[in-house]
Amino acid sequence: MEKTKRYSLKDDFSMVTLLTIPICVAINVVGDQIVQLLKLPVFLDMIGTVLVAMLSGPWTAAVTGILTNLVMGITDNPTLIPFAITSAACGIVAGIFARKKWFSTQKWKLVVIVLALVLATICTASPISIFAFGGISGNGGQSVAIAALLASGTNIIAAVVGTDFWINLLDRSIAIIISFAIIKVIPDRTLIKYSLGANFTRKKAE
């Protein structure tokens, strides 16, 4: 009996999801802090958002993304607040792919998702960093690269989009790989409590 599943906001924002959103925001913030602690040249503030998107769809992921940047803006660096739009966009894109069940072990689907996420990031983050911050973003390594490119006479749009593309390609791939690794470890009885969790259980419902 194959039925097309209809998605409702009420299902997406279930009790368990409500409790998961804070955890995933915390994952994003803590991920960012671990990156700073280990001094890696990426952001990794997207893992929780992708995780929520995979478990319960686009809207919860958008909420997670917005909250993440708000919280990091308050506690860490106020200049991150405008990039909430980027996080929300990435969450929505990842959530839509999750509903289409594209998060599977087929590698080309994952590549498409990464590219879509990078595209969403560039469409939203690059205009913000160009108009609000003159091309300089929070990431130290990228800012230096952009400054060097600007000094050598590159167009500002080319410099920002170019560096954004490479850094985000790396960043989003890592985020998706880690989210997958996390979902593989979570037991089935926890997974089925989420609206999309049944896509990732080891035993399929018949």
Binding site: F13, Q33, L38, L44, N77, P78, A132, A147
Partner: protein
């Protein structure tokens, strides 16, 4: 303990204002910032500089000058970087040389862009930081709930901040545990990157497994029952809201008046 902290904050008349009132004041400050951006002195938005000095003043009046220092520590590196890059690299359409030292040139276009960006960041970020530093998260979420927001949304907001503290403590525990097992957290980039996964996965999976229990706890306290909710420590008005709003509205009106005078000079 939270009650004691709140009492300490409530002693100060500005810091003790109702959070929504502070939000309105923030809106008025944004109007001031926009006006300062439009007014140009010598073709430069110089008014932004004295305006950004208002933020330490507001912090001192709220009785929390230390928070301003931590704010400056957070953003100064970034703001300086933005300013230097813009000022040194951008020439503008008709380059007017303002300052020169060996190979470093500052043109008017670059100075304009740099000043605008750097001081706008200082102003906007500063006033937001003030809002969240003078009122506690619990107070803000209580005020959100009192003004009609869904209690679930208010709970998400509050529990996010609690969760971050919990997870941050867990990170150090897990990091020590993994180090004891022999996972290397120091070395070159690849060694450090490899350490990320053994820290992240136990952290997340632990937190996800606790969700079920926390859901039970909340349900047992009638979280999803549809009825009127009582707030344990409600956000209170301290009686100075009207005065504060009037004063800030007056300042904004004066600024708009000044702007009109500047337009018709």
């Amino acid at each position: 303990m939270y009650r004691e902290q709140l009492m300490k904050k409530k002693k100060n008349k500005i810091a003790g204002l109702y959070p929504m009132c502070k939000l309105k004041m923030l809106g008025m400050y944004v109007i001031l910032i926009i006006l300062a951006n439009i007014v140009q002195i010598k073709e430069l938005p110089l008014l932004l500089i004295p305006l950004s000095l208002c933020i330490p003043l507001i912090f001192v009046l709220s009785g929390q000058p230390k928070d301003y220092l931590s704010f400056i520590k957070m953003v100064s590196y970034f703001v300086c970087f933005v300013f230097i890059v813009q000022a040194l690299l951008i020439k503008g359409n008709d380059p007017v040389l303002i300052w020169q030292w060996k190979f470093l040139h500052i043109y008017r276009g670059g100075l304009d862009k740099g000043l605008t960006l750097a001081f706008n960041i200082l102003n906007f970020a500063g006033i937001f930081y003030w809002l969240f530093k003078t009122s506690g998260y619990q107070e803000i979420s209580a005020a959100m709930e009192q003004s009609g927001l869904n209690h679930k949304a208010a709970y998400i907001f509050l529990s996010t901040f609690k969760m971050i503290d919990v997870m941050r403590m867990n990170v150090y525990t897990i990091m020590d545990a993994q180090r004891a097992r022999g996972v290397e957290t120091e070395g070159n980039v690849f060694v450090r990157a490899k350490a990320f996964i053994p820290i992240m996965i136990p952290l997340v999976v632990n937190a996800m497994l606790e969700v079920g229990e926390r859901a039970l706890t909340l349900e047992s306290k009638a979280f999803s029952v549809k009825c009127e909710k009582t707030i344990m420590i409600p956000a209170t008005h301290n009686g100075y809201e009207k005065i504060a709003l009037t004063i800030s509205a007056l300042i904004v009106l004066c600024a708009i008046g000044g702007y009109v005078l500047w337009l018709t000079r």
